[in-house]
């Protein structure tokens, strides 16, 4: 499956995932403590510099990841221009974009397997509640495996509908899709039990 990890190998790919996550937590906390537009502007420039050290292609895909935020930029921008508090609006937008860009940077430079390993380490205390790291890893693997299976089934359901009706299926795919998910869950549970259980 497609992940958001950048195929462009950068220096940050070689850092341990735990270190990057720790630094990200610190940086994001710091961002929310900063208030002055100038300071936030410097943080934004530093973040842009961070992307620049990884090369043009990497920076471009990083910018593309920020694109879904544009409606918020427009709304907040217009609102603050209208109320005449452009400085405050700029601070809010800079903080938001910088925080998202920093988090995206960690995601883009950490392989999925490393990130899952980090999550399992972080989730270790949850074993007290019966969630062993092994079960968590198994559940994550099941989801990743079943998403393409369910997408395929969804398009099969749509096609069978189309073969029998001239109307579009729309929401009518929902019941068979949910039913199939429940049946898959039962079958996967049987298969797990036959192989020694989920531990």
């Amino acid at each position: 499956m497609l992940t958001l990890t950048s195929p462009v190998e950068t220096w940050a790919h070689r850092l341990p995932a735990g270190l990057k996550l720790g630094l990200l937590a610190l940086a994001t906390t710091g961002l929310f403590l900063l208030d002055h537009p100038l300071m936030l502007g410097l943080a934004a420039v530093a973040t842009a510099g961070l992307y620049a050290t990884a090369g043009g292609r990497f920076a471009l895909s990083g910018a593309r990841l920020l694109w879904p935020l544009w409606p918020f930029v427009v709304i907040v921008g217009l609102w603050h221009l209208w109320t005449g508090a452009a400085g405050a609006g700029g601070a809010i937008l800079l903080r938001m974009l910088t925080a998202v860009a920093l988090a995206n940077f960690v995601t883009m430079t950490t392989r999925l397997s490393d990130m899952i390993a980090a999550v399992q380490r972080l989730a270790r205390p949850l074993a007290v509640f019966g969630l062993s790291p092994r079960r968590l890893a198994l559940a994550m693997a099941l989801v990743i495996r079943f998403i393409p299976v369910m997408l395929e089934r969804m398009s099969q359901i749509t096609e069978s509908w189309r073969a029998r009706s001239s109307r579009r299926p729309r929401w009518r795919v929902l019941v068979p899709a949910t039913l199939a998910a429940l049946d898959d869950a039962d079958r996967a549970a049987e298969a797990l039990r036959a192989r020694g259980g989920a531990g």
Binding site: L65, W79, N104, L112, M140, I144, R170, V175, T178, A188
Partner: protein
Amino acid sequence: MERTLTHVALFAALIAVLGLIPKLDLAAGVPITAQSLGIMLCGTVLGAKRGALAVLLFLALVAVGLPLLSGGRGGLGVFAGPSVGYLVGFPIAAFVTGWLVERTTLPVGFAATAAAVIGGIGVLYVFGIAGMALVLGKTLPEAALLGMAFLPGDILKAVLAGMVTQSLARMRPASLLSRA
């Protein structure tokens, strides 16, 4: 044990798949994605605890970098953006929805619709609006105004969640873990 694990995993996958269907395939003219429908279904079908776990598992996979949120978004960035409140509210919404379905003896279709409205809209909006207010530096009423744009689509989704749950109850009564 295995059954709980696989149900949680399969419904986490269902949330992802529903977020990937193109918007306009679901209903004519209303720009909605089915992702929050997946959250509601987790509650109405799996019940409070399993439903919330399925949503948490889905969010964990988003956080580690899979682009599973509607529109192909994902990674740690979405937890720093304006939609963070909705993400935090997702598991709580599923829990409340499931809890309500478990606790009432009303006809299942009606109970599921009402629970989806209260949990999947009411509870979710409280968190979502608070999150937008925080990240965008707005007051709560201003943020609420932004959030209301999604209300018509979400009401439609609550009704769909009720209908799907009722159909499942009729076809496969044992599969409805929220009423088991």
